[in-house]
Symmetry: C3
Subunit: 680 residues, 3 copies
């Protein structure tokens, strides 16, 4: 059985860089970690040169000594492959391993993630170092698992090297066989882009006005995803040869241009996320009264849960995050480390590894603060981490429970990638996704993200009563069939503007809209337009209720099989259909011809009876997040000020064992984990 | 006699891309066009690979089939040369044909206009493809005219390739003969830029702080203009060899770094403009109550009229404009297609070709909406286009009439180019031009732009009572003579700050200011300075009226031959001359020592008796544009709301034949074309 | 004895470019200069091609003729070496002399300062031209001194050429001997940056996210400083061989990435500064009621005084400054030329050379206005310059007096350079430095900057009663010893947040903070954090007075030897120490755990009795600057409006000889120089 994410316990870890500190500190450090409840350390993920200081010269002294010391303790180790930062000797000798920007300017040694995934040399070198490390240490008892590379696709997720163009050509030939087929798929007849030879095809390059073929872009993002996955798979296959049966393989962080679901299935035991809610200080978003600035991280945690229903946090924030070139931000305030870690647990994390033991004394991340400051003196953050690990023990029953939700938001990588290449798409997608998250959060309505990914779907749709699939411009017949099944068996599917307007190449369909969705949705879009930015609010009358449209207006003709239940009442298209519903066996499909405003989301949740499912248990202010794992209720206060909850029936505080009932105070940055199944 | 712009009728067309659609749709498409009053289609301008799929392999199947089908109908064709988008095989084999940015980063295949004008290879290839197409199709009856390339100098109008440097050297040797003469003209003794060999001379390159020699920049813009013209001339000369006598040659759009007047004379029958007033949604300018955001396009139309007194619109907006990488904007609202097309007619367009028949289903411009959406279903925009072509028929008497104006704004390419290389120049130029346009529009005072171009002047100055020549920093003795003639015969010339301060090289004169204008203007500028940005308003007393100065203050000494009629009354230079007038035979010259504020323009128009010349015919709100072609009055309402006009004498509505008299309503986005010569 | 900066007189000069004007104007120009009190001209600093028009061909005609004419007058000449602008033939033949940006894009001929300091070819060519010029003219009587290059490190102070990487490797080998030592110093174990060979080491290069190793950056700035100094030293050594004994060597301007103090000691007789307070129109800062926008230049003048207690102004603004690519700004208003020149004198300038005689008629700087406009006609600015030179004569007794101050602000190049590589550092440094300057200015408290530089300290610390050393993150044991001496002998030292947290490599210390300062300051920082940007004001209670903290909070434990005298009274760290004082023999050290707000600076000045030392002499509004040289009081009014002063005891107006006493008016842009030592 696996060491982490095993349904039996919640576990704490820490990221540690023995190479940053005198060997004389190692023993004391590990002892202090253990005495503060930390049972796992992640090491090694940037340490290539320690193992291969010169090409082909392998040296195991360092990790032999460090792991030798570790194995005298009960500490377990997650070993990171060091491929995110190639050694100086490697990039100097083989500059073809480096990535470049779109102008061709090469990214040089000294930062990280400056390599490309497709250079044959780099793939070979990475396989070698992985094999050398895995062969040496995989059988050691203290090793519990492996991390592949570090934050794949973080910071840089576009690749423009020559190796990438060569690999892209191969990828395209596999997909299209002939340049004629490629020309058709990419619509190269537009602007005379027609290719007559594969050698004329490249990854996107520097062009006038930054315009690249949008269908090429869509394939390019798919190609990056595949490149990243095949790069990582080389390592996972090597590690699988050597690792002990119960040891796991994971990677950390959740980044773009990557089908994380397919990746997990292909190479990983489970996912781990790196959670830094303090980045809210760098987003430029204003502090809002509902704490949504930090709660935003719950989106990413829900995304991670979609990839991996139970997951870990490899890097949970403990101090101010900062590179030397970034303006300074504050440390977490007392309670925030715990609050944010509990946010992770509430969303499905069973493993919380803090970043990092002690703040580095040098390098780009010397202000990416850890638990301790560089002096190592005891401090408030260490005390808070220690207290947190005790809490984890008290709530370990949570580990066997899954997050529960009646509502899902459906996504798929085709549309995620397409929206990057298509500003119309991204504009409505972002607005709708923001409103969905905001309203689901404020109304305390738990939800999941569900993904169509390459080769499958990430969850059983039938477990959800309502599914929002906001703007699936691209859809395939297979997916239509899956959705039809869902609806026929009683599901409620909600589509938004522009659904079905594209095919799998990102080309617009020449059918009437909503294209492939026309049958399922029973809608007919006769005209469509973005709304005038300076226009007075455009309202939809939905059975007497006025709802503001957002950004876009699909105008429904009424010729579809569904019923028009909402009509525009503003502007020159007043009277045209805005919302239709198509009943289909036990379920139904709503077509909502706009982007989702907050009010539209609220109306759908309310009318479909899925809003605030725990209103009978507890009344909580908008500013408090509510999350549910099995019978366990998580209530998280992101504000500095205390607030008041009201329990309508008694529940049990899982930590204190006390009964909670009626008016109950929740401290600033405080949290409650309550068992709804048994009163105290 | 020519097919278009013939003084006999107003004609409608549409842009069509047969290569984007199944051949099975062609016949139906042409039929629908004809049934909606469309008589011309523009095709071919990006279709190089269809004719030459591989180097030297020419294939006529596609256009033989398409034109074969067209010639069975009454539709006429404007054939575009496909040189704006070289084939992939061409740029891959001959990368020297590509343009680059100033850092030397090459623009690659996949967008458009990535070629340079000066590569000998590209000139040869373009000549070949033009010859092949013209030789094949020029005699076909269905062909009516030719478009050269597409939107020359659009998007990219700077060129930094090696071919450009080589051609620039040749251009400079022709002009200057010796490096000594070049050094003198460019003032290279400044910062030790002296050239000792032609091989040291380049087009502007990447320098510290982006500083390039301003006189080099001025010559560089002239060189770009000449390069573009000679590039296009190769094609026009080939087409002339083959075309039928009545067929025309044109090009589309009006862009920078190009002496369009010389270009037209050299290579074109007339000009066509591409009019997209909906771009106002992308300029970031606020919507103003007078609709000036869209009316701004009247400036460009007036500029086009200067180049070509009667002209066409090759691309008249019908749908939302957008590339896949631009944020979405709305479709034109009902009436706006008609309003904007009528704006074109009011300013001198006799041909309106809509862009485009059907929205492309793929490529960068898949959101550059046409009349139809990709499904091709009938829609509101098609109905509006159909109605518009009927209107065109009803007002075809307009075609024989010229636009009329008493006021002209004089420009010349030397100063247009100089203001790009000179931020002082551009600052005052832009402010004055904005105020002139705004006030002339709001006061319903028709005006023309008149240009000095290489080798001539675009109109007879004597037809104007008042000419504003706002900031001619550069002036030549020849132009002084032309202006002197104008004034002597009764004209009124108004000069603004900085006039005459430079010579033809863009170097400052070392004479007293206003330099070459000193005699004609009779002014003497003793000191000059930009105004303090934080300064309270600086006022000029002009015979008791207070006018605010703008941006700059030339301080007149009173030593000139003219009379000081306005003096500063603010700040430390209160009492110094601000406005002088120099009487000269029947006319006079005003020297106005500042940039033109709105109030200054209004005062000049009022005092010189040229403001609101149709005030005796009709009173219209500021928000309505008034334009005049012969006896025909155009009134255009750019606002969403209806407004009220008042006719002081009866005129005839040209479309309905009804008499208009007294209080008359004008619908939102509505227009009136009235015949002032005969009451109904 | 030297011609300038000799303690005997104040002198006026002007910058002149004979090569920009017809030879026929030279004599008249020099005559007009002399008749307006100008005694020195600076020439030659961009005139390389005039002397070496082709490689190795030297030609002395031009300067023989010009200097031949000069020596018939009493005018003296400062000759600039022309190395800021290499000839076209040089950069074309030896492109390796050019600098590049971090992406490797090379800066080309046509601007200035496009060369690098480390190319062996360029060093040799610069030595040659310097030797040729010095050998020819150094003995001429009319030569008074030499200027090295022009504005070293202006505009561009980063260097990325291959020659720079080669030189950087040599510089690093000298410093570190082995790559192991380099790896240790730069902390390359972070992100696997370890170097195994010197050939892998470069100047900073283009990396992902613009992240370069911060310790490499620190060394890189030191290297740039050393490169610049050794480049200039080649010229100073050549000139020393030829120059007459009394002739001086200087350079102009004060720019970054340069240890100006070490530079002056190594190569220069004294420093000259280029003063353009009108740049305030380009900083985007709002005009404030206290004129601090222009007074800001007093900071730079005080910095220059630190380098050179008496100094010159090589370029004192007379007209609007502008390149052709910059938006226009106004000319100085009447009185401002004089005011700003007097500001220079007040801060220690004994030589005022105006820029420039006549505005250039061409080139990038044709709007960098001189005294005269290009026509050369007499104007107001020339009259003002003439009047100013008469004033200089009347106040020449000032020349022997030094500026006086009780307060110093201590700086050092390690921390100046480190703050560029460290955004945390720069954020608090900039805030504190701004508040210090603002409050010292507004309270009329004269101060000096004092620098630790490579190999010394720029002033005797013991002459100051109070020294602010705001944020010396880096400190060395040697500097601790110097400061300890200062304090033991009665000095008061004030340290701010983060003091002592780094070592000489810019790596964080792993001691308890404030690191090496712990003993001297007697403070112990137990926790630290930036303040929350959205946080309500954080207050410190300092013996009952509430002072706002700024940006950062060091929280003092009380475990240090010093006394906690101020405690935070806000937020979660209320009660923690914020200010400590450690008495040490006759002096004491304050540790202030935040950045300095205006209120904090005011409180320190007030409590330590150094605020407003001339309050007994005169009461002046905040908007008037007060400066002191010996017994001479300078009062400068930067506002447009007149204001009122009040003299509490009679002083003598140095220009009129009149007694000033009681209520006294000071005109807008006016000034007073008063002798405090003797009543009239």
């Amino acid at each position: 059985m696996q060491y982490l994410i095993n349904g039996e316990k919640l576990t704490a870890g820490v990221c540690y860089y023995p190479e940053h500190w005198p060997e004389s500190l190692w023993k004391e450090d590990i002892g202090r970690m253990l005495s503060h409840g930390i049972r796992f350390i992640r090491i090694g993920e940037f340490a290539w040169s320690l193992v291969e200081p010169r090409e082909g010269e392998f040296n195991h002294d360092f990790f032999d000594r460090f792991l030798g010391l570790v194995r005298e303790t009960e500490m377990k180790v997650i070993f990171g492959t060091p491929t995110a930062t190639p050694p100086a000797w490697l990039t100097e000798k083989y500059p073809e391993v480096l990535n470049a920007d779109i102008r061709g300017n090469i990214f040089r040694h000294g930062s990280r993630r400056h390599y490309n995934y497709n250079s044959p040399v780099y793939r070979r070198k990475c396989a070698e170092i992985t094999e050398v490390i895995a062969a040496r240490y995989a059988k050691w008892e203290c090793i519990a698992g492996w991390q592949l590379d570090n934050e794949l696709n973080c910071e840089v997720s576009n690749f423009y090297s020559e190796a990438d163009s060569a690999a892209f050509r191969t990828w395209l030939r596999d997909r299209y066989q002939t340049t004629d087929a490629l020309n058709e798929a990419w619509g190269t007849v537009f602007w005379n882009q027609t290719y007559t030879s594969w050698s004329e095809v490249y990854v996107p390059r520097y062009t006038c006005n930054g315009a690249n073929n949008p269908h090429q872009m869509l394939d390019y993002y798919r190609f990056i995803s595949d490149s990243c996955r095949s790069f990582a798979q080389i390592q996972s296959e090597i590690i699988r040869k050597y690792k002990k049966d119960d040891d796991f393989i994971t990677t950390n962080g959740l980044f773009g241009h990557l089908d994380n679901h397919a990746f997990r299935r292909q190479s990983l035991s489970f996912f781990t996320y790196d959670s830094y809610p303090n980045f809210s200080n760098q987003t430029g978003k204003p502090v809002d009264e509902n704490g949504l600035r930090d709660r935003w991280w719950s989106r990413k945690l829900a995304e991670t849960r979609s990839v991996s229903p139970h997951f870990g946090i490899m890097e949970q924030q403990t101090g101010a995050n900062g590179w030397n070139i970034w303006p300074g931000v504050p440390n977490p305030r007392p309670g925030q480390i715990t609050l944010w870690a509990m946010q992770s647990v509430a969303h499905g994390a069973d493993f919380i590894s803090f970043f990092r033991w002690r703040t580095a004394a040098f390098g780009t991340e010397m202000y990416w603060n850890g638990i301790l400051d560089p002096s190592g003196r005891d401090n408030e953050r260490l005390a808070e981490v220690g207290a947190f690990t005790e809490i984890l023990t008290k709530i370990s029953c949570v580990a066997k429970e899954h997050c529960l939700a009646d509502v899902a938001i459906l996504k798929d990588y085709d549309n995620v990638f397409d929206s990057e290449a298509d500003a119309w798409h991204s504009q409505i997608e972002q607005a709708s996704m923001d409103s969905l998250f905001t309203v689901l959060q404020k109304t305390h309505t738990p939800f999941d993200y569900v993904y169509f990914y390459e080769g499958g779907i990430s969850a059983n749709l039938h477990s959800y009563r309502v599914i929002f699939y906001p703007h699936p411009l691209i859809v395939t017949p297979e997916r239509i069939r899956v959705l039809e099944q869902y609806v026929k068996q009683g599901g409620i599917l909600i589509l938004g503007a522009r659904a079905g307007c594209k095919d799998h190449t990102g080309r617009c369909v020449t059918k009437r809209l909503p294209g492939l969705f026309a049958g399922l949705a029973g809608a007919d879009v006769k005209e469509y337009s973005f709304l005038q930015p300076d226009q007075p609010e455009v309202l939809i009358d939905w059975d007497g209720e006025k709802i503001p449209a957002a950004l876009f207006a699909d105008r429904l003709s009424g010729e579809g099989a569904g019923d028009i239940t909402g009509r525009y009442v503003s502007d020159y298209f007043a009277g045209d259909g805005a919302i239709s519903v198509n009943r289909c066996a036990d379920g139904c499909v709503y077509y909502y011809g706009s982007a989702f405003s907050d009010a539209a989301v609220e109306a759908f949740l309310r009318r479909l009876g899925v809003k605030e499912p725990y209103a009978d248990v507890v009344t909580v202010p908008e500013s408090v997040e509510l999350a549910v794992r099995g019978p366990y209720l998580f209530l998280l206060n992101y504000r500095r000020d205390a607030c008041s909850l009201h329990f309508h029936r008694p529940v049990t505080d899982l930590i204190s064992g006390a009964e909670l009932s009626g008016e109950t105070a929740l401290a600033g940055y405080g949290f409650i984990v309550a068992d709804m199944s048994r009163p105290a």
